[in-house]
């Protein structure tokens, strides 16, 4: 029998995978991919709560998260194209201007 806890554990595992990606990768496009993974894992948690409590609020928030993720990708990819035109690379170490 699959309970709410199972879904939450999967969601937490996926979230930590995405967080590890954000902390570990140095390429900006890979950081975007990891962010998508984190948003999706939270969506799984919301859908699981919605199912467990018989409440539609979780699904509503998942819809708004999907809308926010779509607009984030549109703006972020435009910014990435500008950065690539300026620096010729998407590596975070190459983009560091200020040597602190």
């Amino acid at each position: 029998m699959i309970t709410l806890t199972h879904y939450l554990v999967v969601s937490a595992i996926l979230f930590s995978i995405g967080l590890m990606g954000v902390l570990r990768r140095r390429n900006l496009l890979m950081l975007f991919f990891s962010t998508e993974i984190m948003l999706n894992s939270v969506n799984i948690a919301f859908a699981a709560f919605s199912n467990a409590y018989g409440d539609l609020t979780g699904q509503m928030f998942a819809f708004f998260i999907i809308a926010i993720a779509a607009s984030e990708v549109a703006v972020g990819l435009g910014l990435l194209i500008l950065l690539y035109k300026k620096f010729g690379s998407l590596d975070l170490d190459d983009l560091a201007n200020m040597r602190g």
């Binding site: 699959i2 199972h6 879904y7 939450l8 999967v10 937490a12 595992i13 996926l14 979230f15 930590s16 995978i17 995405g18 967080l19 590890m20 990606g21 902390l23 570990r24 140095r26 390429n27 496009l29 890979m30 975007f32 991919f33 998508e36 993974i37 999706n40 969506n43 799984i44 859908a47 699981a48 919605s50 199912n51 018989g54 409440d55 539609l56 609020t57 699904q59 509503m60 998942a62 819809f63 708004f64 999907i66 809308a67 993720a69 779509a70 607009s71 984030e72 990708v73 549109a74 703006v75 990819l77 435009g78 910014l79 990435l80 194209i81 500008l82 690539y84 035109k85 998407l90 170490d93």
Partner: protein
């Protein structure tokens, strides 16, 4: 029974595919496995009875976001492997694990305190899409319209940011053309 099998199949496959996304050195492999993981996550939504959410996940993520990323890849010329220097991965694993623990605690605290009441309960005998539509266009009408405006702003921002100097190639060596132009001007 079939729910159990589907849950374990989807969870193992998603975790594996997203690990490939995070660990892979090739952007093409990472993007493909990310798209496959998104499809399987919509499978989770179908198991959970959120049919409309699953369809939206398929359309928006797999259809739109992945297409946007693949078009972005054409600009960036990322077919070769990425060289990155990774430092101190043990610290990153510890930080990631701790953050996952905090996430579980945050989500689990209201369950154990038993304070959750259903605000908008699902109706029996009504399809999920109908139910979602009724709640979305009554209780959540204002956030829905604000989200529509946000998507419009994001579209305009994306066009303006990416649309400048689209006639020039990003990946070709533009300096070669510049020297030719300079020599032409000198003559």
């Amino acid at each position: 029974m079939i729910e159990t099998v589907a849950f374990y199949l989807f969870s193992v496959l998603t975790i594996g595919l997203f690990l490939v996304t995070v660990m892979s050195k090739n952007v093409l492999y990472a993007m493909t496995s990310l798209a496959a993981g998104m499809v399987l996550i919509s499978g989770f939504f179908f198991i959970l009875g959120a049919d409309f959410l699953g369809v939206v996940q398929l359309i928006v993520y797999v259809g739109a976001v992945m297409a946007l990323y693949s078009f972005g890849m054409m600009f960036f010329d990322l077919t070769r492997d990425i060289k990155e220097k990774n430092t101190n991965s043990a610290l990153i694993f510890v930080l990631g694990g701790l953050s996952a623990l905090v996430l579980v605690l945050i989500f689990a605290a209201p369950i154990y305190s038993q304070n959750i009441q259903a605000l908008y309960p699902m109706h029996e005998g009504v399809g999920n899409a109908q139910d979602v539509g009724i709640v979305l266009f009554t209780k959540y009408l204002v956030p829905f319209e604000v989200a529509a405006i946000m998507l419009l702003v994001a579209m305009v921002a994306g066009i303006i940011l990416a649309g400048k100097k689209m006639d020039q190639s990003l990946t070709e060596d533009t300096n070669a053309d510049d020297t030719i132009l300079v020599t032409k001007d000198a003559k």
